[in-house]
Symmetry: C2
Subunit: 588 residues, 2 copies
Amino acid sequence: MSQLLRVNMSDLSFKYEDVPEKYHHWAARGLTSSLTYDEVPPNCHPLGPDNKVIIAPGIVSGTNAPTSGRTSFGGKSPLTSTIKETNAGGLSSQKIARLGIKAIILEGQPDEKDKLWLLKVNKDGAELLPADNLKSKGMYEVCNILWKEHGEGVAIIGIGPAGENRMCAAGICVNDQENTAGRYAGRGGMGAVMGSKGIKAIVIDDKGGAGVQIADEKKFEAGIKKLEEASLGHDVTKREGALNTYGTNVLASIMHEAGGYPTRNFSSGRFEHTHQISGEAKVEMITKRNGEGTTGHACHPGCIIQCSDRWANPDGSFKVSVLEYESVWALGANCGIDDLDKIADLIWACNDVGVDTIEMGGTIAVAMEGNLLEFGNADGAIKLIHEEIRNATPLGRIIGNGTVTTGRAFGVTRLPVVKGQSMPAYEPRAVKGIGVTYATSTMGADHTAGYTIAPEILGVGGEMDPFAIEKAELSRNFQASTAFIDTTGYCLFDAFCVLDIPSGLEGMVESCAGVLGIDWTVDDIVPLGLEILRKERLFNEAAGFTRAHDRLPDFMTKEPLPPHNTVFDVPDDLLDAVYDFEQWPTEK
Amino acid sequence: MSQLLRVNMSDLSFKYEDVPEKYHHWAARGLTSSLTYDEVPPNCHPLGPDNKVIIAPGIVSGTNAPTSGRTSFGGKSPLTSTIKETNAGGLSSQKIARLGIKAIILEGQPDEKDKLWLLKVNKDGAELLPADNLKSKGMYEVCNILWKEHGEGVAIIGIGPAGENRMCAAGICVNDQENTAGRYAGRGGMGAVMGSKGIKAIVIDDKGGAGVQIADEKKFEAGIKKLEEASLGHDVTKREGALNTYGTNVLASIMHEAGGYPTRNFSSGRFEHTHQISGEAKVEMITKRNGEGTTGHACHPGCIIQCSDRWANPDGSFKVSVLEYESVWALGANCGIDDLDKIADLIWACNDVGVDTIEMGGTIAVAMEGNLLEFGNADGAIKLIHEEIRNATPLGRIIGNGTVTTGRAFGVTRLPVVKGQSMPAYEPRAVKGIGVTYATSTMGADHTAGYTIAPEILGVGGEMDPFAIEKAELSRNFQASTAFIDTTGYCLFDAFCVLDIPSGLEGMVESCAGVLGIDWTVDDIVPLGLEILRKERLFNEAAGFTRAHDRLPDFMTKEPLPPHNTVFDVPDDLLDAVYDFEQWPTEK
């Protein structure tokens, strides 16, 4: 049976524990949120000893299920003060699972604040090694050093200087097959929490691990077959489909066309240079440069969608992976920057110092509005990350703490945030459902919390008018089913195919039920998701959150957004309706 | 009849309005909180166009009532996001009242963000004059310039560079009889709100003003006589009594002795150098220097307590007024600084750049804990205010935004704040009642919101064990009666005598009833105060505050404080009991 590995940083001790029965069917987000709800005092300081970093692979992670390599990182967020789950691809999920570990729980806090530790986990157990040699090092160098020291192929989970300095925009990095530092559980400042525990990096070596026990092999195999067929049969997720060809940045042209591509700190829904930074432009340039750049790249072993890429410099040499839609938008259109090479530099800098690209784009745009630098000043933006944050200068400490801190420092009132977290790349004034998700999500503004863009813009899972305001039920169902998918270990992009292909959805659920040996059906998805959301909402409520926080910033309700010149007009009662329903499901 | 003067900064227009009947009996805090509750959207950005700065003298301000020159400044706080009332002495209260103005309401926001305005109000009306000549100037120079331009004796309300730069620790300054910039409505960042309106200063000239109408002269005169007798007859407030002789800093030795004098970012209740910075030390040095320094000084005309002072340099020349208990503690003991001349430099710098001394002391102590500079480094602390904040450097923008922002920037988790506002000079672990007030006040941590120190430490208004935890009713009654006193225009220090001398309390109420021509008795004090608190609580609730915010920071519940080695152990239900009672009074 899988176990929980507790790492107590107050006394540098370890404990392997049997998994309590009540957590049996939980993994990834379902487990991180349950443990946070059960163990973290909602009113604790997120960077104090009572907070935890809980690292958990999904239900099917470590098996041969396709596209299932997500690792969840949970705890209380220093950025939002809410509960937080943020997940990433890369190597860690499958290796943790194959070591028979259901979650690694980092807790307590060392007395010596300046000392850094490396946590090493393999089949023989865990150990803490001094890691002062990694102090202030960027994640690219950390990955190189750790593969040299601990063997090629090991999974690395780490933080850059931003996390060491407990900056609230700091993410947690996971390496990938090429050992590049590009897979980030970026949101909510969980890198700062890891930094507050004194842990610079975790090395996971699964050689000789017991592997994942599958209770009902037959059900599992039948499930993954159905899911694989759906994935390979849907226009969005198939080989040479939209994601595989253009990566997630296929969305740039689509959102621009829809007038919902936030530009220059959310002051327009269209960027006049979108065509220079779109997915199409990216593929054209990678192809033309004909060097080490690739598209259709997998962010973790076993992914069959392969939406990642590796960007090449003008001379063809490898620069950075990955030019994700969100990152390109955040550090591109939202900052008025129209040059993919500069954007690639910015993404590289974020990955190296260890900050969330979405939060950084929001932050730099706000700093631009506050006249720290001009919109479009790419070199100035790079300096902010590469030098100021890296060296933890006073300015770096402002920028590295995200949009709200930067807005306060520079007196900016147009802050596109919810619960302290920067909005991603979809304009709520042009796509109302995603605004409902931003407002009501347990995580602060987060597109992955309930991606209503699918029916509102992409025609996936039905079709809905993006300007219609009655989106409470839609958002609730997306938030609940997302909480479930975030628990499975499957990538959220599997949602594209399973929304349209019922057998794919069955396959997803059956593969999980097969691993766990229980009788879930597709009818269990929403109730299970709501169970998770219920704990998250209760945690937030105890931490002081109310419906008054389930709102978008007031400027969006007043300032019309070009080109449609619409405001966010979803009334409060239609926001409150998301979590105002007959009865929360009780725990299974 | 008195009027409301509305100044709309969006179109630079004025409006004099009759006072609606429902505001008839309100003034000062009662009026600023009523207007904020009625007119300011609780979820607005405090520095956006929807917030207001409401400036209101008290009920008896402008009459010959003794010690009645307080001006209230209200609106939504950018520091706490709660409703805010903060008041100051100086010249403004009486002059506004004598012009027949019940409140000046600054609203809207100019399009041109960099332009500064001077609002001039006299018997002929109001006008807005360009004030770009005052840009970036400190308040000492602003006061000098404005007396030269507009006549000696005019009242000045203004902001320093911190307010212009919308920093959340910025206060609003009022000049005094000597035209020094030392009277501050410091708390909650209302100076930033004034800055966000583009108003650098307000000049009030009451020459030829109509004066204050008194409905029942006889009742009023009888009332002030009783209050004056009480004031002059109580050991704390009488001539050559404790306050008159030593100023408020008489409390330093007392709080040190009680073990409740917060030292080095609230890590001890005693400062080994208290004797060097106490009220006694101050008087001794002022006397010895035998120059322009004075004690027993009045902060506004008509004050009969006269607890202010004017500090002199070693050569006898005037330095700064006033060395208040809170300021000396905040910038002294709490930062480990033991030199009154250095502390005077710090207070001067705060007054000039325009920041709250309490918030600054809390902030610099947190920066010291975060290793930005050493505890006790007075010159470093002065540089932070005098240079960094003044010049709005990135570091200045961190420090100028207060304790929470600084804690976030430097990764410090021991933050002695409630609702984002720094605690004043009383340690809740050694004096539990004041902790109950800090936790539950509508204003964030604020000793003036319900000064339970009186019975807990001073034996005024009864005697209570400071370590006893049943303080809910005590704090509620103090919070309610304080809300009433903050409405009268009387200085809160009148509370010392009226708590012990019943005829003084009667006199206070009767003088107000005399001005208004209504039948208040002392039995009305608590219900009237609760009416105000109710509106403040409702505003905060709508802004997203819950009981989860009515708590002290968790380190105080865990970390024992020397010398008594006690934690803050008032349980949550005894905190919630403050506002958990049968029924709020309904509006009169």
